[in-house]
């Protein structure tokens, strides 16, 4: 059956088209809308997008295959990306991958037999200071250890992705040096508590002047 976007997404396509001086520039945004609806970029999707933007299907396919986040085959209900680039590996990325493989019963690059999870290796996901980490669907899960990882996966399986994200997902965190014995400069305690779902660790103070031993002469 031919692919079609829902009326709301069709409306979003119209909106996206107004953002660029050239129609073709809407290609990535429209592919995203399609993948969100369909789960992957099937041949029907390629055909639909090509027609919508007046491009050939080979041009659309060429773009789809260039980008790792566009799936040109079906994937599991949840896609788990485990970061294995250096900063994560220095903090245990390999152990995280090994645990995922044994827990999901599949090697990276494959899906669990129940179709619930696809496990993929990722390159650096811009969360290196919170390593090791994984991305599951749209969300990041950072500062992992094996126990936390188990809970995150179990929650996905038992309660679904949204519930897991609400409980465990994180976004960019930022934190000042611990004070040591240098006095009371850390603002960690004075910062308002972050909303419960967001595991931000915040502080905005530079270290005390006593710590600055740079060459300023």
């Amino acid at each position: 059956m031919a692919f079609a976007l829902t009326p709301e997404r069709e409306q979003q396509v119209e909106d996206v088209l107004t953002r660029y001086p050239e129609r073709r520039a809407a290609l990535l945004p429209i592919l995203w809308l399609c993948q969100r609806q369909n789960g992957w970029i099937s041949p029907d999707v390629v055909k639909y997008v090509a027609e919508r933007l007046e491009l050939s299907t080979s041009i659309v396919k060429g773009v789809v295959t260039f980008y790792t986040m566009f799936f040109d085959e079906p994937v599991g209900e949840n896609v788990v990306w485990v970061c294995r680039t250096l900063s994560c590996d220095l903090r245990g990325g390999k152990a995280i991958q090994e645990r995922l493989e044994s827990k999901l019963g599949c090697k990276a690059g494959h899906s669990s037999s129940d179709g619930k999870f696809t496990l993929l290796k990722a390159e650096c996901l811009a969360a290196c200071g919170q390593a090791p980490m994984v991305q599951i669907n749209d969300h990041y899960y950072e500062n992992l250890d094996l126990e936390l990882l188990d809970r995150i996966i179990d929650t996905h399986a038992a309660k679904g992705a949204e519930a897991a994200a609400a409980e465990f997902s994180t976004f960019a965190s930022f934190h000042a040096p611990t004070d040591g014995d240098a006095g009371s400069r850390s603002s960690v305690s004075s910062a308002p508590p972050p909303p419960s779902r967001e595991a931000v660790r915040v502080a905005t103070q530079p270290p005390p002047p006593a710590d600055e031993k740079g060459d300023e002469s």
Partner: protein, 458 residues
């Protein structure tokens, strides 16, 4: 002794729900944009950015004020601002924090920058993985538009400004500015030959300024304080201001720290990041993303001549040189994205090197033969060395392959692969030689010192 600086870029990070317009405005968001648009001239704003000596925060360190000066709009042309939020250089995780925790600072910077360079549209190109950041930015843009800070008449003035988010879809090379422009235009993210430079012919064939997220997010403070004052926050000349430093790897407190330009790597590791994890010895540090050649704390700066830019640090460790674009270049490395990857004495450098070269092999766009073939070949040689099949000649081969990759390609990706590779062999040659002499696989891991922690045993 400089007084501790008041946080600027990260000033709102500690506020509850800092990404919401009302909360950001309570702490001054959009005050500077309003003043700039209603009471200052574009030329005057450009001048402040020039005086600020802000070096691009995306990796190359080009002075933003000078770049803006390259624009020369012709009849019938439209200028675009493109904000590079692709943040994919391994080790780098600073721009994401700006988008997540203070999107309104970025939008305010975009508004002022558009007004200054005479652009009406800014595109923020965000790597596709950052769905949360994209959602925050989109909400923030919608709220700013609703409040009248974007749209046909921002702050009531006659200079329409729209900001759009464009999501990438997973490809490191799209951080390279011309690849990014291709991706923005709906093409494969393959770099273009330069010239023409984007400032002459960029997005949609029009003059375009491409700047990093942090560069643009610094603009409000620059305009508010004045370029000279902002510049002098730095400890170095011609490399102004404050920036966000990142630290990952084997330190006690990995994370992001705002500090003046020109602190030393030793300060960053010891004073900001709390020192080495488990108080182990520091073996090596990759200073500013994986494309920057590694620093070895055992090495001393060799600059006996008084005219040498690093003479002041002659005889001191490499990690005691202030972190600046020019100082690091003189040191034979690069400041890059200013996000350091710290490694303790348990790390096998050949294995660490293999990890990074696999990244480059995976990410080469494949247009240029020296890059495509070179990256693959480096990984093959490193695989052999790591798995006990290496020969002594392989070490020279790594150098040879790297030399042939440099300066022969469309974009700087190949140089960004070859330079760190050469740095590793130069500084840790003995380890490569040892690996070549081994004929049994070591089964080395990089995570020995943290394994107990991850497994919940520590």
């Amino acid at each position: 002794m400089s007084a501790p600086t008041k946080p600027l870029l990260t000033a709102r990070y500690g506020i509850s729900e800092s990404w919401k317009l009302a909360n950001a405005e309570r702490t001054g968001a959009y005050r500077i944009a309003r003043e700039a648009l209603t009471s200052r001239k574009p030329a005057d704003l450009k001048d402040e950015v020039k005086k600020a000596n802000i070096r691009g925060r995306g990796g190359a360190g080009f002075p933003a004020g000078v770049k803006w000066g390259f624009l020369n709009k012709q009849e019938g042309e439209e200028i675009y601002l493109v904000i590079n939020a692709d943040e994919s250089e391994p080790g780098t995780f600073k721009d994401r924090s700006i988008m997540d925790l203070d999107p309104h600072r970025l939008i305010e910077g975009a508004i002022i920058s558009c007004f200054a360079i005479d652009a009406h549209v800014a595109y923020i190109y965000v790597r596709g993985e950052l769905a949360v950041s994209i959602g925050r930015l989109e909400q923030a843009i919608a709220d700013a538009r609703q409040a009248g800070y974007l749209g046909e008449r921002p702050f009531g003035i006659d200079h329409a400004i729209e900001v759009y988010v464009h999501s990438g879809a997973g490809a490191y090379i799209c951080g390279e500015e011309t690849a990014l422009l291709n991706s923005l235009e709906g093409r494969r993210g393959e770099p273009r030959l330069k010239p023409p430079f984007p400032a002459v012919k960029g997005a949609f064939g029009m003059p375009t300024i491409v700047n990093n997220v942090e560069t643009i997010a610094s603009v409000p403070d620059i305009v508010d304080m004045g370029g000279d004052a902002w510049s002098s926050l730095s400890r170095l000349p011609l490399d102004g201001g404050v920036r966000i430093y990142g630290v990952s790897g084997h330190v006690k407190n990995p994370g992001l720290y705002e500090a003046p330009v020109g602190i030393t790597m030793r300060e960053l590791i010891e004073d900001y990041a709390g020192g080495m994890l488990g108080d182990r010895p520091l073996k090596a540090v990759i200073p500013g993303g994986s494309s920057t050649p590694v620093l070895d704390p055992r090495r001393k700066v060799d600059a006996p001549a008084e005219a040498h830019p690093l003479h002041k640090w002659h005889g001191q460790s490499e990690i005691d040189v202030p972190m600046g674009v020019d100082t690091y270049r003189a040191l034979g490395t690069m400041l890059g994205t200013c996000c350091a990857i710290v490694m303790d004495d348990t790390v096998n450098m050949v294995e660490a090197c293999r990890n990074l070269m696999r990244f480059y092999k995976h990410e080469s766009c494949g247009q240029c033969t020296p890059c495509r073939e070179g990256c693959g070949w480096l990984v093959d040689v490193l695989d052999n060395l790591c798995e006990g099949r290496g020969k002594v000649a392989d070490v020279a081969l790594l150098v040879n392959i790297s030399n042939n990759m440099m300066g022969n390609t469309i974009c700087a990706f190949a140089d960004g692969t070859a330079m760190p590779m050469l740095g590793m062999v130069q500084k840790f040659r003995e380890e490569f030689m040892e690996a070549a002499a081994r004929d049994v696989p070591e089964g080395v891991r990089h995570d020995e010192s943290v394994l107990a922690m991850v497994e919940g045993r520590a």
